[in-house]
């Protein structure tokens, strides 16, 4: 997707690839709602969407192209996304409303929200955290991408967010801290989050160069990566090789998994 123009929200895809893989393959059902609060993460949603039969792989080349439905910053027009986000800090509130609405409807659905660590700088995130805990929204699960990256550089240089897990705990949330590139850890955390009676947050420690760190420069702008054609080709070769060695997970379209959760 970034090859055509040589830039895009690649860092977000690299930090969150395993988060989306675990979410889509293990947790999310067609009945559930998904809010991706940093709309920039649409890129990884598209890539992962191919694996669950939600998006045609041939469509990926239209990412960010004028008139394409695969917009670079996702909206509710994006297949599979529930709200229009991208102005950071707003998604969790919508997810809380969806979770409350589902409870009022007597629905067993869950609401998943992908939230970036930079969004903890927005006061609204903490308004939503208070609201969700107070109203006992156990059907709400947040996947927090703790990639320590924002537009102006590493998040810890911009402001101090630590202690992240203590903050969410103090706000009344069920907190699960994991290595965000460890699929097994993510799956276990998601499972625990689903069983919680309180709103849950999976704090996933990640890296915006994960998997391609030997190809991309350390000082790369994690928010909006620029890549050369040579880097693209090297990355393709590297990922093809990695995929050959990787444990293969069979595609599992949502439609075939509908009703799987008892």
């Amino acid at each position: 997707m970034v090859a055509r123009e040589g830039f895009g929200y690649l860092g977000q895809a690299l930090s969150a690839a395993e988060i989306f893989a675990a979410l889509y393959l293990d947790a999310l059902t067609p009945d559930d709602d998904l809010v991706v609060s940093p709309g920039h993460y649409a890129i990884v949603h598209y890539a992962a969407g191919v694996e669950i039969g939600r998006i045609d792989p041939a469509e990926l080349v239209t990412y960010g192209v004028d008139g394409s439905r695969l917009e670079s910053i996702g909206t509710e027009g994006t297949p599979g996304l529930t709200a229009t986000c991208g102005s950071l800090g707003q998604g969790l509130s919508v997810a809380a409303g969806l979770a409350l609405g589902a409870r009022l409807n007597g629905s067993a659905k869950r609401v998943y929200a992908v939230v970036s660590d930079g969004e903890m700088e927005e006061g609204q995130t903490w308004e939503a955290a208070l609201f969700s805990a107070h109203h006992g929204l156990g059907n709400l699960v947040v996947l927090l991408d703790r990639n320590d990256s924002q537009v102006d550089g590493p998040t810890h240089q911009v402001t101090t967010l630590e202690p992240v897990t203590d903050k969410w705990t103090a706000f009344g949330w069920d907190v699960h801290a994991v290595d965000g590139h460890d699929i097994g850890g993510l799956r276990a955390a998601l499972g625990a989050a689903q069983r919680s009676a309180r709103p849950s947050v999976v704090v996933a420690e990640t890296w915006t160069l994960s998997g391609l760190d030997h190809l991309l420069p350390d000082e790369a702008d994690g928010h909006f990566l620029k890549v050369t054609p040579e880097q693209i080709e090297a990355a393709r070769a590297h990922l093809t090789e990695a995929e050959r060695d990787a444990r293969t997970v069979a595609p599992a379209p949502w439609t075939s998994r509908k009703g799987e959760r008892a």
Binding site: G91, S93, G97, L98, G101, L104, S107, V111, A128, H134
Partner: protein, 344 residues
């Protein structure tokens, strides 16, 4: 078009017509949900909380979150009424309303009480630009009602609108300006006080909205006393504006004044001026309202007079616009009990 004959001050008043109407609506529509922001009694939603508590949620003092929660609830199939003071309902969560409610055109009704200079709370509490802000949002309907007859009808009417609505409401004692047969009209601007036939020329048309309808009625009587024929037009729905109706009234008027309890920038005055200008009409025109300033903390009566929203100021402005010279006629004083409603 029908001409309604409006009543004259002193007006009887009604308490909590909005809160009662919302409960009645929710009893009819099981999907109605009521949200608040730590102003439950002040927004008359204590009635809802006490009678339909399972559908009432206090979102605390966090309006940005509340608008997002409202959007989520609406996406889950609920009709959501968000209640707080107008200033807090519009300025602080503006971006949240834009992105989460207006852009997807969700079924969320934002009810902002305490409009303009009706509160002694000063600039922090006075919603003086809420109409301008909400008018600028695509998909948003903007309603400001004149009296206690219109409020329950407005609740029903906006519930029938599928998309987002901003409803601006006076708080506290609500005057009864119209008789029992009065019907709120969100589709048309309506002459509520006039002596000319609908197709006859008139010296002056006053387009008024919300609390300024009562002010305009008092001013109209004084102006008629010096031989100026006046139509008072109630504009209950500021967006979408009944453009054809505005033009119909402007075309037969020798002068036009707008009257709003709001900044003259972006509100009724701007909306009517846009219609006049785009139609290529030239008519003597003035906007009565808050003249691009913040206001102080003082009584509503003081503020209305001090910032030029009083009926005497309306008379002076209109008489001069109609070519009359001072001294202008005095608006009749209306006896009222302390704390009771009266037009200023």
């Amino acid at each position: 078009m029908t001409t309604v004959k409006a009543l004259r001050a002193p007006y009887t008043t009604v308490l909590k017509p909005y809160g009662s109407a919302l409960v009645a609506l929710a009893r009819q529509k099981p999907n109605v949900v009521c949200l608040g922001a730590d102003l439950t009694r002040q927004t008359e939603t204590d009635l809802f909380r006490d009678q339909l508590g399972e559908r009432f949620f206090n979102g605390a003092m966090s309006e940005q979150n509340l608008m997002g929660v409202a959007a989520g609830l609406a996406r889950a199939g609920h009709q959501v009424f968000v209640n707080t003071f107008g200033v807090f309902a519009t300025r602080r969560p503006y971006e949240q309303i834009a992105m989460q409610i207006a852009y997807p055109a969700l079924d969320v009704k934002i009810v902002g009480l305490m409009p303009g200079l009706s509160t002694p709370g000063g600039p922090s509490h006075q919603a003086t630009d809420d109409i301008a802000l909400m008018r600028a949002l695509p998909n948003m309907t903007v309603v400001d009602v004149a009296d206690a007859r219109e409020i329950p009808q407005a609740v029903t009417a906006i519930s029938e609108i599928p998309g987002p609505v901003y409803l601006r409401l006076k708080r506290g004692e609500i005057p009864v300006l119209f008789d029992e047969d009065h019907r709120l009209d969100l589709d048309n601007v309506v002459v509520v006080d006039g002596e000319t036939a609908p197709d006859e020329p008139v010296d002056l048309t006053i387009f008024a909205t919300g609390m300024m309808v009562a002010t305009a009625l008092a001013a109209a009587d004084a102006l008629r006393g010096i031989g100026i024929s006046v139509d008072v037009v109630n504009v209950a729905c500021l967006k979408p504006l009944d453009t054809a109706g505005v033009l119909r009234e402007v075309r037969r008027s020798k002068a036009v004044v707008t009257a709003e309890n709001h900044s003259v920038i972006g509100g009724l005055g701007s909306a009517v001026a846009e219609v006049i200008a785009e139609a290529g009409l030239a008519v003597p025109f003035r906007r009565v309202g808050i003249q691009d300033t913040f206001a102080r903390a003082a009584s509503a009566r003081y503020l209305f007079e001090h910032y030029g929203l009083g009926s005497q100021h309306l008379v002076d402005t209109a008489a001069a616009l109609c070519g009359r010279s001072a001294p202008f006629p005095k608006v009749a004083e209306v006896r009222h009990e302390v704390g009771a409603y009266s037009p200023v």
